[in-house]
């Protein structure tokens, strides 16, 4: 194992609000695994969805500023838990290879941005830099009995040329991690489907339909929970689950975890540290049953 894993950490805006538990659990597992994170000083919003729908150079300016901040830390790689931030940061770096575009963006900034920095997701460095085999060695509380489906969402690995990680149609990174943690992973056929994303605000019906289908499918394949790697996916499936139930006449009660939360649990971190109490659909019963299964197994041993 590489003991000197050291990254700049870009939390992204949702980490300070709707997905605070993703941020907490990401930091907690990194600490537990000995991965050093240094917060990007004075980071700002990556531009999110609104910026690039209005103006590409504005969007890239917002992201480029953050990449420049990382470069000024003397680090060459930056990680973020959020796939949307990841896409923006990577897109900015890519588009700024074009001279004309770069000039346009730099005009919007105080000083020309250094965008040499490589950005990766927390998931990617866990798989590629830390290694699933090494994660397995650190598991103290296996997730025995947890039947889980991995849902990646539509942007985590797309476009493939830009994201350069896992498969664009059939990613396996989270499936493999969950399996290493001792969970029973059921293949989730809609793993790269759209959840409705930010349409939750202008067109709620879209999210009710798309996320509803994801929950229906989870139930059909017998998943007791889903793991996600995206704040927006998690929010649509978790926070809006009761709305979906109302809209579609369903009775889903499926906890939606961030993969980092379940990873933390298996590493022996406390529910508090992992922000389990922040989830809308309570994972209580499910977590209890995992703990019970584990006890039974220990006794049997």
């Amino acid at each position: 194992m590489n003991t000197s894993l050291n990254y700049a950490y870009y939390p992204g805006c949702s980490s300070t609000g709707t997905s605070v538990e993703y941020d907490m659990s990401s930091r907690a597992i990194c600490a537990a695994l000995g991965i050093q994170l240094q917060d990007v000083p004075d980071w700002s919003c990556c531009g999110s969805t609104p910026a690039h729908t209005v103006d590409h150079s504005l969007s890239s300016a917002l992201s480029a500023r953050n990449l420049d901040q990382v470069a000024s830390m003397g680090l060459d790689s930056c990680i973020t838990p959020c796939p949307s931030c990841l896409a923006n940061l990577k897109t900015a770096k890519h588009k700024m290879q074009d001279e004309n575009f770069r000039d346009k963006v730099n005009k919007l900034l105080e000083k020309p941005a250094n965008t040499q920095v490589e950005t990766k997701s927390v998931l990617q460095i866990l798989v590629e830099d830390y290694g699933i085999e090494n994660i397995k060695k650190k598991v103290v509380k296996p997730l025995t009995g947890l039947v889980v489906g991995a849902y990646y969402g539509c942007i985590l690995n797309r476009p493939a040329e830009l994201m350069q990680f896992d498969s664009r149609e059939h990613p396996m990174a989270m499936d493999n991690i969950m399996e290493a943690l001792g969970a029973t992973v059921v293949p989730f056929p809609l793993k790269v489907e759209c959840c409705g994303a930010s349409f939750g605000i202008p067109r709620k019906d879209v999210v009710m339909r798309l996320s509803g289908k994801l929950l229906d499918t989870a139930q059909e394949i017998g998943a007791l929970a889903l793991v996600t790697a995206c704040p927006l996916c998690q929010m649509n499936l978790d926070m809006r689950q009761s709305q979906i139930n109302r809209a579609n006449g369903t009775k889903h009660n499926i906890p939606i975890f961030y993969f980092t939360q379940l990873l933390g649990l298996a590493l022996g971190l406390t529910e508090k540290e992992l922000g389990m109490d922040k989830l809308c659909v309570s994972p209580r019963t499910l977590l209890n049953s995992i703990a019970k299964e584990e006890q039974i197994k220990e006794k049997a041993a």
Partner: protein
């Protein structure tokens, strides 16, 4: 020397960006040039006559034509000057089309460049010598590589024309893909009924020697006199004695061998005969699955074989065959579609290939002609066909159209309805490419009479839903998303070059395109020739094509071979290397570098000298650049000739 120069307009191909009159005028000032003119189409009859007349009128003894590539018309003009009584090597061509007019728009610069090229040609011409080809006898036997429908056609046509034919087929039976098909478009006639008898003809024809389960190891020689080393791969069964009774196959306990003939929809035995109508109908052991060959245990087949043909010690055997011409008909293979993760990447058993579906439709196939889902053996009701899988898709490196999958998909949709009248077929397509006699009518029949639902659009995703497969795609005509609950999905997987095509091309010394398909001599005018004399092409090895076109090419290649063999002797190309024995110091460098082994050591009055065997030399000229003495010279490209061109260009 009195040189005549003809500068061609090539219609407007050259004239549009080269001032040919100026080029001709400039040429008149060159040393040796006594006549120069520009002409509309030099290659046409009046154009050629003009050359002949000028030779006679002006007593010319050398000709330069500035026109297209020598690839195109060097032979034409050599014949023209010969007609006027000159030696055909007292002719030079300046390529001012491909090298000038087609690649630059600046008329002045182009004209200057054309003048330079004409000057180079005429300077070289002044150093040309008349050359005389030698005659050699040809071996009138032909080798056919690949026993698909194209190879079979070529073999039968050649054999019926009286030639001795040697056919080498990689697998243990001939027939190629067509032998795997159920019916064929656009007539929906049974594939084995039309191919079977032709396969039998190959086996029974007194003029054909068939080496099945064999490959080409080595090819030496040249047109008229090739020497072929054939590797007969070990079958562990003595084929002279094997009667094809199939008892061994029945009793073999190893039941999980890969069944390539049935496209792996089922398993076969470790000892197997691919199918009942196989030619030759002989058993072979697949060592990967044979417990006797792997662990030294079993030996059942040896015990049960009534003819005692099993030989576990059998080794590969090498045979040498001498032939005068070669037809390569190695066909195609299917693209590995599992790169398409959106179609399940191979994870879903009920997503199958078109060729697997053919085996399923075939009455002699592993399901006895019943359409069954691989997952549970149930009859499907809703069958989805997806076209252009691994065709017309740059993202997987296959931008070309396979050309026949639109047609076979329509056929398979029709057959599906015939087999299962209660079924409904859906076809996702990009465009319908049905450009052939009775082809469009055929696809329309699938739509109109067989009620196939054609949906114009791509499929974005297939995923399991209960025991069905949900196929989601776009309907680009309706502008909507569509979802079909399918029981079975059939992928119209595109064609790619057959495995090992490029390796074989290197042995044959023929060229192939970036996808591995063999290059024809000219895309329009030489469809079955290659750029290597005596080597011809037929069928899908040149590019994906259907049965009618493959057969047409098989016959065309046979006609070419029969034409070649209509002479008893061929003329050798005198453009070969020769050694000036006075200059040669016998260092042997040329012997080491010649890639064709054409140079041998000889003893000349007690001294070692190099000697070129003219019939083996390919005229590549590698030896000339290694000789420290300049003793070995390539005729028609001697050092003096090349230097005169360089001097013409670098006049300072």
């Amino acid at each position: 020397m009195k040189i005549g120069v003809f500068v061609c307009h090539c219609g407007s191909n050259i004239e549009a960006t080269v001032d040919t009159a100026t080029v001709a005028a400039a040429a008149r000032e060159f040393p040796g040039v006594v006549f120069a003119t520009d002409t509309m189409y030099t290659c046409s009859e009046p154009g050629q006559d003009e050359i002949v007349d000028a030779i006679k009128e002006h007593n010319l003894d050398g000709i330069v034509v500035a026109s297209c590539s020598p690839r195109m018309h060097e032979q034409t003009f050599r014949r023209t000057v010969e007609r006027a009584g000159l030696n055909k090597y007292l002719f030079e061509m300046a390529n001012i089309r491909e090298h000038v007019s087609w690649i630059g728009k600046d008329r002045e610069a182009n004209t200057n460049k054309a003048v330079d090229l004409v000057r180079m040609a005429s300077e070289k011409l002044m150093n040309n010598q008349p050359l005389y080809p030698k005659k050699f006898t040809i071996n009138k036997r032909v080798l056919i590589i690949g026993g698909g429908v194209a190879g079979i056609q070529a073999a039968l046509d050649c054999a019926d024309g009286g030639l001795e034919v040697v056919m080498v087929e990689k697998t243990s039976t001939i027939g190629g893909k067509m032998a795997k098909l159920d019916k064929t478009f656009p007539t929906v006639d049974c594939s084995s009924c039309i191919l079977g008898p032709r396969m039998v003809d190959v086996a029974q024809h007194p003029n054909i020697t068939l080496y099945a389960f064999s490959e080409i190891e080595e090819i030496n020689g040249y047109v008229g006199n090739f020497e072929i080393k054939v590797k007969k791969k070990a079958t562990y069964v003595d084929w002279d004695a094997c009667t094809g009774c199939g008892i061994c196959m029945e009793k073999c306990p190893s039941k999980k061998a890969t069944d390539t003939f049935n496209e792996e929809i089922d398993f076969t035995k470790a000892i197997n005969i691919p199918f009942a109508q196989a030619i030759p109908k002989k058993a072979k052991i697949d060592p990967e699955f044979c417990t006797m060959l792997k662990k030294g245990k079993c030996g059942v087949c040896a015990k049960v074989c009534p003819s005692g043909c099993i030989d576990y010690e059998m080794k590969d055997e090498f045979i040498t065959e001498k032939v005068g011409a070669i037809v390569t008909a190695t066909g195609f293979d299917l693209f590995d579609w599992t790169v398409y993760e959106e179609y399940g990447g191979g994870r879903y058993p009920d997503v199958i290939t078109s060729l697997q579906y053919e085996r399923m439709l075939s009455a002699s196939g592993p399901t006895g002609g019943h359409i069954k889902r691989p997952s549970d053996g149930k009859e499907p009701k809703d069958v989805v066909f997806i076209q252009c899988v691994g065709s017309r898709d740059k993202s997987v490196g296959r931008p070309y159209c396979t050309g026949f999958c639109c047609m076979y998909t329509a056929k398979q949709a029709i057959l599906t309805k015939d087999h299962l009248p209660g079924s409904q077929s859906y076809v996702f397509y990009m465009d319908i490419r049905a450009a052939g006699k009775l082809y469009d009518e055929f696809t329309r029949r699938a739509m109109e009479e067989y009620d196939t639902n054609y949906i114009r659009g791509r499929v974005s995703m297939i995923y399991p839903k209960g025991d069905k497969l949900l196929v989601r795609g776009a309907d680009t005509l309706m502008g909507t998303q569509v979802e079909v609950d399918a029981d079975l999905v059939v992928l119209a997987v595109g064609a790619e070059a057959s495995k090992g095509a490029s390796k074989l091309a290197e042995k044959l010394r023929i060229s192939y395109d970036s996808y591995g398909f063999y290059m024809e001599g000219h895309p329009k005018l030489k469809p079955v020739e290659t750029n290597t004399a005596g080597v011809y092409l037929a069928g899908a090895c040149q590019g994906p094509k259907d049965i009618p076109s493959s057969v047409a090419q098989g016959s065309a290649a046979a006609a070419k071979v029969l034409g070649l063999f209509s002479k008893d002797q061929l003329e050798s190309d005198p453009q070969v290397s020769t050694v000036d024995i006075k200059r040669c110091i016998g260092c042997g460098k040329c012997i080491q570098t010649c890639p064709f082994g054409a140079i041998k050591e000889i003893d000349f009055r007690g001294m070692i000298k190099a000697n070129v065997i003219e019939t083996i030399c390919q005229g590549c000229g590698i030896c000339t650049s290694t000789c420290p003495q300049g003793a070995v010279q390539l005729q028609h490209s001697t050092d003096n000739q090349i230097l005169s061109e360089v001097n013409a260009l670098c006049q300072f």
